[in-house]
């Protein structure tokens, strides 16, 4: 590790087609459309904001109960409730600090053509910095399995979005619910993805012994929070070794130390998700604490630390 210096550490990160002032972004679905957190810190201090997953038309999402707490984590089956791309662009995007912070749209559709249409609508708006593709829709044609679990389908979706996105960088968000995450990662990278996000939630469930029923109306839901950090770290490490494109780490990060651990494991940037619920100012604190923590470990630029894990 580099020796301790007295200069202020440089937190800037340069990603394909996207330069951010620090590696801290918020994770889709955990930060609303950004404005919900505007009174807890300066949104423009964040490296990036990934907004709630958008679909072409507004979606009502799943019935209640949609969330359940579990040890060090939570389950959610929100069902991608969102206001749709049109209302997002009209009502939310103008108020976001898109000149200072990378505003990333998270996309959700149920077939490659619809993904392309959505990507086209979003990529036309220069206020957006990148697109993040959520490939977790259970695909009926493939027997209810998510796109993200099948390398060929994930690649097809990636190609459709790339073709429609023009020069806007495309990030594909991978699911950990697969036997070998590097297979999907390679397929998606070969299909032209500019970056990968690792990981989406882990499939889980919670039951209520008193009522003898599942706690979520949808029966199963996605597990997130500190409980999944070890899985996320493992995925980031494996994927960053398997592909040549940058990886954005997400899963259970709640402190600046967690951020540096993910970078050590190979991540270029990170996203903060469930920790935003633990305290609504968490992400702002992490941004504030990162430079001092870098100094503590003698890191002057994140490039020095990235992927240097000794195994």
């Amino acid at each position: 590790m580099a020796s301790k210096t007295s200069t202020t550490p440089d937190t800037r990160v340069s990603l394909p087609g996207l330069a951010i002032k620090n590696p801290i972004m918020t994770a889709s679905g955990t930060f609303g459309y950004g404005l919900e957190f505007a009174s807890f810190g300066k949104l423009e201090d964040l490296g990036g904001i990934v907004v709630k997953g958008l679909s072409l038309k507004p979606r009502a999402g799943n019935p209640m109960e949609r969330i359940a707490e579990s040890p060090c984590g939570m389950l959610n089956a929100i069902g991608l409730q969102n206001i749709g791309v049109e209302r997002f662009l009209e009502e939310k995007l103008p108020a976001l600090p898109h000149e200072e912070t990378a505003i990333v749209a998270n996309l959700y559709a149920c077939d490659a053509a619809e993904f392309g249409e959505l990507a086209q609508a979003l990529a036309a708006d220069a206020r957006l910095a990148a697109l993040e593709v959520n490939v977790s829709c259970p695909n009926v044609a493939a027997g209810g399995q998510a796109f993200g679990q099948d390398p060929a389908q994930a690649a097809a979706v990636t190609r459709a979005v790339k073709d429609a996105a023009g020069s806007m960088p495309v990030i594909v968000k991978l699911s950990p619910n697969v036997a070998d995450i590097t297979m999907v990662a390679r397929a998606v990278a070969d299909a032209g993805a500019d970056m990968l996000t690792c990981i989406n939630t882990l499939l889980g469930m919670a039951v209520d012994l008193k009522t003898r029923r599942p706690r979520l109306a949808n029966v199963v839901g996605g597990l997130s929070g500190p409980a999944i950090k070890p899985v996320a770290l493992r995925c980031v490490w494996q994927v960053s070794q398997a592909v040549d494109i940058p990886v954005i780490g997400v899963g259970g990060i709640s402190t600046a130390a967690d951020v540096l651990e993910f970078i050590l494991a190979g991540a270029h940037a990170v996203q903060i998700g469930t920790a935003n619920f633990m305290r609504p100012d968490t992400v702002f604190h992490i941004v504030e604490e990162l430079p001092a923590l870098m100094s503590t470990y003698g890191v002057t630029h994140l490039d020095e630390l990235r992927g240097t894990l000794q195994v």
Binding site: S39, K42, M64, I67
Partner: protein
Amino acid sequence: MSSKKAPTYMRNIKCQELTVLDVVPFGQTLSEVTHCFALRLENPGWERWRPGQFVMVRHPSFGLELIWGRAFSISRMASSGLSLFIQTYGRGTKRLSESLPGEKVTVWGPLGNGFAVQDKRTLMLAGGIGLAPFLAYAEAHPSPNKLELIFGHRLPLETYPFENAKNLVPEMTARSFHEQTPEDLPKFLEMVDEAVQRYADGGLILACGPTPFLRAIKKMAAEHGAMAQLSLENKMGCGVGACLGCVVTDDKGENVQVCSKGPVFWAHKIEL
């Protein structure tokens, strides 16, 4: 910290560490069990707040284990501090009941919208710990002589801040009903129904309590043509409208966040 870009409904919200002044047990009569307690915190220094709004609270012992804050109605706000009335229910409220004076808890608020304050005959219907917001409401009301409180409860009366409410606002009419057996429930609902009818003509009805109770009141208000506001208690992840875990379906068929669009809704504007 504040941002110039915060939408108006958010500008007023703060996340802060507040010192615990004390924990006052209620209903600690014979057994050692304290079902309910008042958690008194230092004054958060909010510029504005309204009765019916709530806060999210975390005790440091939640650590990484209890993910969400816990939602509590603002029960009293005075220059001396903020009081929450809490019923010990599960792990989070248990830990809060064990807080010690001088400890800091994390609080974000004031959240959501509040009850309408109108200078007309107002009926407050409280079920159990649903009494909590009505102390603040009665104290803040410009004409407390126009207020009537009906309080239904299962635990002994001294478990709840009912006497406090009466002492704080002696001008209001207050009745309590102890539901000791399941057979008592229809009797209580009959009493509530009779009252709802009395307020149908130009009055205002406010209710807070368990969902079945609110559902019954929604039905009564519709039958008698009364204007009623209900305060919902959905499970909350974030408290600020971001996670979409707490939604209720409104009259347009849209799922709206109870934490930021509520917790108080006009009864006829939501499906329950």
